[in-house]
Structure formats: structure tokens, C-alpha cells
Amino acid sequence: MAEVSLKNVEKVYPNTEKKKHGSKSNLKVTEEGVLAVQDFNLDIKDREFIVLVGPSGCGKSTTLRMVAGLEEISRGEIYIGDKLVNDIPPKDRDIAMVFQSYALYPHMTVRGNMEFPLKLHKVPKEEIKKRVEQAAEILGITEYLDRKPKALSGGQRQRVAIGRAIVREPKVLLMDEPLSNLDAKLRNQMRAEIIKLRQRINTTFIYVTHDQTEAMTLGDRIVVMKDGVIQQVGTPQEVFDHPRNQFVAGFIGVPQMNFYDAELIRRPDGVYIVDVNGFRVELSEEKQKNLREQGVEPQQVTLGIRPEHVELAPKQSAGLKGRIEVAEMMGSAVHLHVNACGKEGIIIVQTVDLPGIELSELSIGNEISFIFSGKLVHLFGKDGHNLEF
């Protein structure tokens, strides 16, 4: 258990590796080299579960590896507890890490793998036995203790990897995309296991993933990253409800948020209205207040609306018109890919309460109209920044 604090942390890869990193994303390149992580500031509380999330190449794994000590820090400071760990080797940081590839020692049995870190730390034999058995019990791998990793399935191997990490009772438990190598079903199952595990062990978690569902379900707070820069830090609900910019809005939430070009208008009475291709929506009181506080002038904006917040409009009523291009039947809902205002967006329609429309009408090629509430829209300026903040 410990607080972790990252202050102005930066990682620069010298120019020799420019090609390798430059091709992956739009990372900033300076004379010094490629900036894989820029000005990273984060205070992680004791026993907090923090999730670093972002597309591949955004610097989340690099940040985690810097905390682990596997990657040198180019600038800034990292504290674990009160201790500055910049120059402390990984073995002395009192951390444990779970890798995407499991990284089990193939020549040791499951028991050997789990005992290994304890033996290195000269824990008494009795204590080692107790801790290994306890961890195996928690993870349900007791019966595999004498097997070699190659005789285990992916899910079991990942459990062993987690077991090896938790027997140490580390101050901080780092997880680098631990579920990415598992199939969808197993991933869901392991996600639930991690939530349960988290309740049973008292430690600080730092978890890296590119999967926003994992981020939303696991994290106390999530850190959304892009091109080595933090985009937003907040609780999953905060990030979902109040995305700071268009990138976060698009990245968090499945299916992705729909974006339309729109115009922000201010009526003579000071009320903000947004106009999307002739369909006008009055913004909610809260949004009006935020925009007024920020002194937002009328302008061209990008309107964002989540697929689950869009409603089908009854026939012949006002709304945005669009043509259905793909209809995905999910059982309880239909995901309609609708081309409106020259952009494709997704609308989730619950099949149980269709507003005076037959399900058969929601087929490819048909015209529909849809509406959304002024409470649930998000407005982004030209630079992608959320106008409310």
C-alpha cells in the first residue's frame, strides 16, 4: 500500500528510434528525440485503482514501465510512498507487475513461479508456503500448483501471473494489459475476478489497457492518454458524462459517440441553442450556465451525442433525417448505422418500446428521423476542446 506520485514525468526516445515510434502515432518530435510521454502529472491515492487508457502508442505502457523502473525517466520525478524512486532499480521499488504475455518462467512449476519472488526476498519457508497457498486459493489455481506453465490454458496462466504478483504483497501492483491475450468470454470472467481480487487485497493498482470497457469497469479513476499526453483524469462516470475534449468523448463509450457539424446560436435573451442541419435544440440549464461562465460566443461547433442518448422521432415529426445503412440486431436493441448530415452515426434503439414505428421499418435503405435532448449533447470547439470547460 502506498501513494504513487508522478511529477512532470517525461520520456524521450533518442532520435535513433524516431522511425520506430514516429510511424506509430503523432508523438511530438524534438531535437532531443521522440517525446513518448509528456509532462505527466498524477497523484495516485493509497489503495486506489487507477487505469491508464488510450489507443496503442499513446505512452500508457511506457508510463507504467517508468513506474516499474524498466524504463528510464528522461525528466520529472516518481514517488512511491515518500520515496523518490527515479534511480532505484525495479527490485528495490517494492512493486509487482503482471505482463500482457504472462511472462511466467517456463522452466518452473506454478508453485516455483509463485515462490520465486519470495525466495529472492528471503522470506521464511513456512511463510512462503502459506502465502503461495493462500494466493492459489484466492485465484482458484491450487490444483495446478505442480504443473508447468505450458500445461495451462491462457486464463490459468494469467491467474498464475497475478498470483506471482500478489504473493509479494507489494506496495503497488502494476498490470500491463493483462487481459489482452484472452478471448472475449475469458476476458469478461477475468475482469470480474480482478474486481473481486481488488476487494480482497489492500494495495494500490495501476492498470494499463486500451479497452475502454475494462477502464470503465475496473478503475476508481481513469487516465485517458493520447500521443503521450494526459487528456483527462476522472472517475469513469465523470469521463463518460463530461469528456474534456472530442478525443475523450470519442474514445470512451461503446459504440462511439456520434459527431455532427452544428452551429451554436445565442438568442437575444441569452439562451444558447444548437442548430444541426435545421434541427434546433435548446441546451439544458446546466449547460447554459457553463457556457455563459466560459463566455462562449456563437460559433461553428462539433456536436457530440452518444448512441444511447438518441431517440427515434415519431413519423412526420421534427428531427434530424437520416438513411439507415446498416442495421445490427442485438436482441434487446437494434444498432442502426444512420447516414445523416453527410456523416455516419449510430443510434441504439430498444426493441421493446418503439415510438410508433414497426421494427420492420428499421431496415437498410429506409429514412428515419431522430431527436436528442439538449441535456445530453456535448459541444466541442474547432480545437476539439469541450466548450463547457
Partner: protein, 280 residues
Amino acid sequence: MRKQARRQGRLWSIVMTIISVIYMYPIFMVLMNSLKVESAISTGTAFDLPTEETFAGLANYENAIGTQGFLASLFYTVFITVTSVCAILIFCSMFAWYITRVHTKVTKALYLLCAFSMVVPFQMVMFTLSSMADTLKLNTPWVLWVIYLGFGAGLAVFMFCGFMKSVPVDIEEASMIDGCNPLQTYFHIVLPLLRPTMISVAILEAMWIWNDYLLPTLILDINKYRTISMLIQFFRGSYGRVEMGPMMACIMLAILPIIIIYLIGQKYIIKGVVAGAVKG
């Protein structure tokens, strides 16, 4: 189609059998002559099978072991082979681990240097080497491993690097986080993973060092120290007289251990040589 494939298979079997016979025949001939009396081994009779009159039993073997100090030679050969192979395994695997994991211009150059050393023929360096060995007092069996380490490094590093590239670096990083320093990572994690490659490198290097004639002849004082391959020459007496029977017996004794080692470890050679060639 299947008939054609079967016919082709049969043809290959015949060709390969002929080739194996060609390869095996000299060894068979040596074995056969080692069991004949001295007078029955001449240019004209060398190819004859032993008869009742010419069969000598194990007399040649007794002679080979008893007269020219075979046991001392065996000891030197075993000592040189074991020390050299151990040195090659330890130093080269550590070196290969380092140059595979640390990417700098220097490590790249060192790797190329090792690969290059494999194509330089021994004859090119042998005279300078022997005088250097004299100067540095490396001309005894006790330190000959230093020279063998130099010559064996090329192939060994090349093979170890091939395997190391296929080992995910995550495993080593995990060990570092678990509490290992680099030396512990090497001995606890890397070394056990390298075992199959170690065995194949050991066999290949042991075969070469055991059978090597030129290098020990040039470097060691032949009157003091003789390896088995040097000893074989000692059955050549003065005035061109050669004790063919004991010589053949000595050759058989020399190749026997290495054949046994090879047969035991041959499956590892294939594994080791192709390790890292394909992504597993």
C-alpha cells in the same frame, strides 16, 4: 500421385543408403584393420576382412593403450575439451545475452565480429597465434581453453543469439521486478532457458576440440603434452615405419567417446541449430 511419391521416396532411400555407406566405410575399415595383425595391413591387404590367421583380437588395443602413454593423452584431451567447452558455454552465453538485449553500435559490431570470425580459416592465423601463445604462456593444456574459447566463440555466440532473440524479454523484466539482479537473472532465468542450445553448442564444440589436431600440435610442446589426435601420429616410427595396428586401434578409441556423446545428444543439435529461426 501417391504412387509417384512412393517411388520417389524409395529412390531417395537408395541414394541416401549409398551415401551413408560411403561415409561409414572408412570407419568400418579402420575398425576392421584394428583387429588384424600388423603384417596383414598393407596397401594390398588393407581392404581384406580378418581371417583366422590375420585376426589379432584386442592385441592392438592393448598395445595402443600400453606403449605410448594413451592414458595421459586421454587425460589431457578430456581436460582440454571439458575446460574449453565449459568456458565457451559460460562466457559465450553471457555475451550473447548481453548483445541481444543491449542495442548499441558496439554490440552490433561485436556480433558481426563474432559472425566474421566463423569464416576466417584457422590456417590464416595459426603461425601468429602459436608465437603469441608462447609469449603469453598459453602453451600448456591447463590454459589452452583460452585459445579454444576464442575460436569457439563465433559459432557459440551465433547460436546463442539466435535462441535469445526468441526468448521474450518480458520474462527477464519480470525477474528483475521479482527481485533479481542481472547475475541472478542470468543464472535463475536465462541459463535454464538456454539449456537446449547449451547442449547442442556443447556437443558441436566438444566434437571439434576433441578431434582437433592442428591447434594443439602447433601450440603444445609435443614432447611433454600429447592429445589423442597428436598421439596417433606417434605410431609413425622412424624411417617411415608405421605401426598400423595400434594406430588404427588408437583411432577407434579416439572416436568412440565422441560418437557416443553425439548419439545421445543429436536431437538437441537439431533443436539448437534451428532455434530462433522461426517464431514459436
